[in-house]
Symmetry: C2
Subunit: 686 residues, 2 copies
């Protein structure tokens, strides 16, 4: 048998392989590591290489575009050596980036053109005052106000008693050189130029303070480019996320997320409302739980600033939470009510009304946040009982409201909130999906942090899984994207049937009888961090199916309700606290996402916290959220049985009506037959 010399650019030397060998075999001989999470089935696309020259034949062009082929790209597991060849192995991260769906929008980047002086309402102003004298006995506060007027053009500044107590001593100890920190929230903007479908009367009610508010005054002059801290907070039913933001640079310097401490009192908003409505003490208990979570996260992000910036040479010191001057808060309406201690009972009972959709501006100490006591707490506006500020913020950060294209926006969290619309119109709905996709309510579920399995590939012969673990070490559990990926792989490989039942007849020891019925072992105890098997149980599968069914039913009923054909949606914008990678193919396979061309999908990460971040940074973005809240029409899904019927139909893999997934069903057959075309149209992007 003829031998050919194959040279990998990253190897120490060439290797000889016989005709017909796969490039993956050649790579192994050459000591080149090429990942094959799908087990060499040509499905995952992770073994991408570029053929510089030579005799290599592609057994399949699965996962490759025409352009890819023209540029010499091939999947190593599907590439047969037929002559001498030189192979370029792209860096793994490049392959990853190419393979993952468009997540560039999910990156945290400072908005283009962010200008602290123009966009930020929190301002730090150095002032030099004329000291008083026997001929100028103006009181300290008037003197400071005069300086703010003359040196910063700020009129009508007001402040709290706490700051008034501090002014006199601070002015004197600093020899009349001080730095004032103010929140200069502009007056309410005139109604949006986009006429809303439903005028929200809330908007005519301004918050309590619009004139500049002095938050604090410090001795001496702070460096102009020193950080000035703010925080964006997303209170999810399951997960709370906090970003610490330097308002001067606009950069999110640290992030942290944690399960909402209220989980122990109920997994979804309804059970929490019921719990809280029993008596005031319980409502207060829930408030304290989420406050503890948020305050803990605020501590954490402050500590992380130092650690995360150790590499840089910036003279950053670890800030104290007391230096945080403003917080923008989002969350669904129930979370906002419970956070503020406002009774939420009416949210649960027909006609499903909130106490307040748009809370006034508050101060940290009223709310109980352990930051600067006078810091502004801006709870962003929601729309209805089940479309809260997390959605208005999500719509903002997704850009849905600012585009001529019609977009479907899905926030995949405990509440399956959905918005559909464009610059011209906006509708929304919500349904309870449960916390499964956030890793909660699932035996080995966890948040998308270090140790979480975020992607799984199952070998179609051996049924052995290959897992991608966040941080790269041993796994501890499965996060949302990992669960989604696992369900899809189990289904595609026949380990789960369409109703979501495990097939115990498959020849693998990984399907076994556990405490809660059948289960699949994703990782054996010997491979895990904690020394216990990581499994997916039948109950977990059921929870996940219910979650995906609710979300799917939500957006389909919403689209139907406005008579908009889902297949003509220009973009599907997906928010949610998934891991680093989410695979559209798999999400469509299980029937979570509609069967649309890949390029229409955009994973945006945590859109809620990102919207809070944008509103924190820019008062124009803040005003845009107001406009979104005003424009958005809420569609009540519980009005008739339509939603329930849609939900029931969606409880199958991918759906009872497989006609809704035309690109998937035949391709699955092909795939299982071991070749042919992609189960989804090839990606057309470059």
């Amino acid at each position: 048998m003829a031998e050919h010399v194959v040279t990998f650019d990253v190897a120490s030397g060439p290797v000889a392989v016989p005709t017909g060998a796969l490039l993956t075999e050649a790579a192994r001989l050459a000591g080149v590591e090429i990942s094959q999470p799908c087990g060499g089935q040509g499905r995952c696309g992770r073994c991408l290489v570029q053929i510089a020259n030579g005799g290599v034949r592609r057994r399949s062009t699965l996962r490759l575009t025409q352009a890819d082929v023209q540029q010499g790209f091939a999947l190593a597991c599907q590439a047969v050596v037929e002559g001498n060849a030189t192979i370029l192995v792209p860096p793994q991260e490049k392959v990853e980036r190419r393979l993952s769906t468009d997540r560039t929008a999910a990156k945290v980047t400072v908005p283009v053109g962010y200008d602290y002086g123009r966009h930020q309402t929190v301002r730090r102003i150095p002032l030099t005052l004329n000291p008083p004298s026997m001929t100028d006995q103006t009181d300290d506060w008037s003197r400071l106000q005069l300086a703010l007027r003359q040196q910063a053009g700020l009129n009508d500044v007001h402040t709290s008693l706490a700051v008034l107590k501090k002014i006199g001593p601070t002015l004197r100890q600093s020899d009349w050189q001080v730095t004032a920190v103010l929140d200069t929230i502009p007056p309410p903007i005139p109604p949006s130029p986009h006429p809303g479908l439903l005028e929200n009367p809330r908007l005519s009610a301004p918050s309590a303070f619009y004139s500049p508010r002095l938050i604090d005054v410090y001795a001496g002059h702070a460096a102009l480019d020193a950080p000035l801290w703010g925080a964006a907070v997303d209170i999810g039913t399951t997960t709370v996320t906090v970003w610490l933001v330097d308002l001067v640079s606009g950069e999110a310097q640290a992030q942290a997320a944690e399960y909402n401490g209220q989980i122990e009192r109920g997994e979804d908003v309804i059970s929490r409302i019921i719990y809280a409505s029993k008596n005031n003490g319980r409502a207060e208990g829930l408030r304290r739980l989420v406050l503890d979570t948020i305050n803990g996260l605020l501590e954490t992000v402050c500590q992380r600033v130092k650690r995360e910036n150790l590499a840089s040479f910036a003279p950053l010191r670890e800030p104290s939470p007391a230096e945080i001057m403003k917080v923008s808060v989002v969350g669904n309406s129930t979370m906002m009510h419970l956070f503020l201690g406002i009774p939420a009972a009416s949210i649960r009972l027909s006609p499903f009304v909130t106490a307040v959709n748009s809370p006034p501006l508050l101060r940290a100490q009223e709310v109980g946040l352990c930051i600067h006591p006078e810091a502004t707490v801006d709870c962003l506006p929601g729309v209805a009982s089940y479309v809260g500020a997390d959605i208005t913020a999500g719509v903002l950060s997704s850009g849905l409201d600012d585009s001529d294209q019609v977009s479907l926006f899905l926030d995949i969290g405990t509440n399956g909130e959905t918005a559909l619309g464009s610059r011209e119109w906006l509708v929304s709905c919500a349904c309870s999906a449960g916390p499964a996709f956030e890793g909660a309510g699932v035996v080995h579920g966890m948040r998308a942090t270090r140790g979480a399995i975020e992607e799984v590939w199952i070998n179609s012969q051996s049924y052995e899984p290959t897992c991608r673990v966040i941080g790269g070490g041993r796994p501890r559990g499965l996060c949302g994207s990992g669960l989604l990926s696992l369900i899809a792989e189990l289904f595609v490989n026949g380990l789960l049937d369409r109703a979501g039942h495990f097939d115990p007849t498959r020849p693998t020891g990984r399907i076994r009888s556990g405490e809660h019925g059948l289960e699949y072992v994703v990782a054996w105890a010997s491979e895990t961090q904690h020394g216990r098997d990581v499994v997916l149980t039948a109950v977990d599968v059921d929870n996940l199916l219910r979650a995906k069914a609710a979300i799917y039913a939500g957006f389909t009923v919403l689209a139907d309700s406005v008579g908009f054909p889902l297949e003509t949606v220009d973009r599907v914008l997906i928010g949610g606290a998934f891991g680093q990678y989410i695979n559209v193919e798999k999400a469509v396979e299980i029937g979570l996402l509609p069967d649309l061309p890949w390029e229409r999908f955009h994973f945006l990460g945590n859109t809620a916290v990102k919207g809070a971040y944008l509103a924190l940074l820019d008062h124009q973005a803040r005003a845009r959220i107001e406009a979104i809240a005003r424009r958005m029409t809420y569609v009540e899904l519980s009005a008739d049985n339509t939603f329930y019927d849609a939900f029931t139909s969606a409880l199958f893999l991918p759906h009872t009506d497989s006609g809704r997934f035309p690109s998937f069903t035949p391709s699955l057959a092909l795939l299982l037959a071991g070749g042919g075309n992609s189960p989804l149209p090839p990606r057309e992007r470059g």
Copy 2:
């Protein structure tokens, strides 16, 4: 000797007396009680009677005007029976009213034309809301705001988190019929039409909330004329006064006063500032002390409403302090700082600057007042370190700023604050008088309450005193007017010399050696409530002389500083917590007040609390106080030695320069000689 029949209208029958008998003797025989506090010297005027017909000769017309004589009035102790006569004895209160200087202005009366709807900022509004439905899912707060807009014309209503928590349950438990209580403070008024001498930059700074603020929402509709409670609070250095006001009727329903609990930490503002400046704990301690005093008084006035209205048939129930929705607070600048917990140290040190002259509007719970936690606390504006809100409020209630006449305004309290001016101009000054005229720092001093001696007459032969006691029972001590009266009587009767030293050679057992040197016994132990002698000591006299000297020096130096001759002042308006009666004659005798015609003097009572009351009732009055604060020029007395020299000269009775008291000095001689004209021009009023 001829006998004559004398008939008193109030007696059971006529009596017979010999020629030459005094009417007082006839009255005694007839069993008619006629008071003679001056011991029948014809000085006090309290034994006034009217001769209906018959032979009575006036031995002296002292205390009587020509009109009095024409109408048949006579002093019984100076009226000699020379024939049958019929005598009318006017009710004692009529005599009192006639004798006391003009105090009608000191009466608490609702301002003429007070209209709750037009003048009051606190409003109670019954609302009927449309309940939510599946087709109207507006949130509760927006729904309430809409009702306020549609049913009360109130836009931009804002509220606190505490009220937001309450709205939902209240709306539902009351079947969407609620009563809203708001403070609808109007926006800042444009600058006064009267150009000020000194523009105060403070005024361009509005308070924190100008749009209507929802204080609370209650289930059901309150009766429209049910009381709506507010309080006016005057924090004196020595005495704190609280009025409880029904904002609907405008009536002050109850009053109470108590010594400021801070007295134990220092008698004057300077010693309190020094005490507070030692450390924060002490400042906080002082704050708590005055808060306790105020909170106690707020409890007291609430309890008194019921008691004081038992006689009437109004269905009044005793209100709870939690029903008080607004408080206007006045006090000198130090008191305001200590009350709010704002460091006051700079007030004491050159250049004598306050931290804040015009505190922002605050809420009761921030301040620590135990009333409705969301009640507005409006600390009225002051002018300077030593001319506080008590003076601007006093000027307001005195009407000084609204008159073409030039008035001298004296607030006789611990700080001798003085204002001089008219509609056109306004100057002010302050000096430390000490608390003597409030009964503090004097061995048997007390506030002007039940048991306080408020007036004293000493018989010029026996040196025995006659005392008028507030409430009419046994005395416990001496209040300010009693002390003033006593000093004057001691001086006029030669028991005190011009330097204020007791004369131990006078033949009376009432001057004796006590613990603190010589003293005069005003009431023996057997006559008092507590069974101890009530005395005036040499130290007390010294304190009182220093107080009167400071006040006298203050207004004379102030008048000099603007070149305005004191004798051309149109009115002398006197504020201070004196008792029911104050005798101008005696106040001039001791050199406290300038020697001017009686009719120019007007005793206004506690002008500070009255100003707070007016500002509480009427937002236009509140705006006028702002204008007063802006217009008033503060004259610093400590700038040179002028004040000290004037003070030293005034430490004598009545003054080292007796030429300043022309009407007094000769008349004293006449008086002591036992007859002649009045020591002061007869009252010319009818």
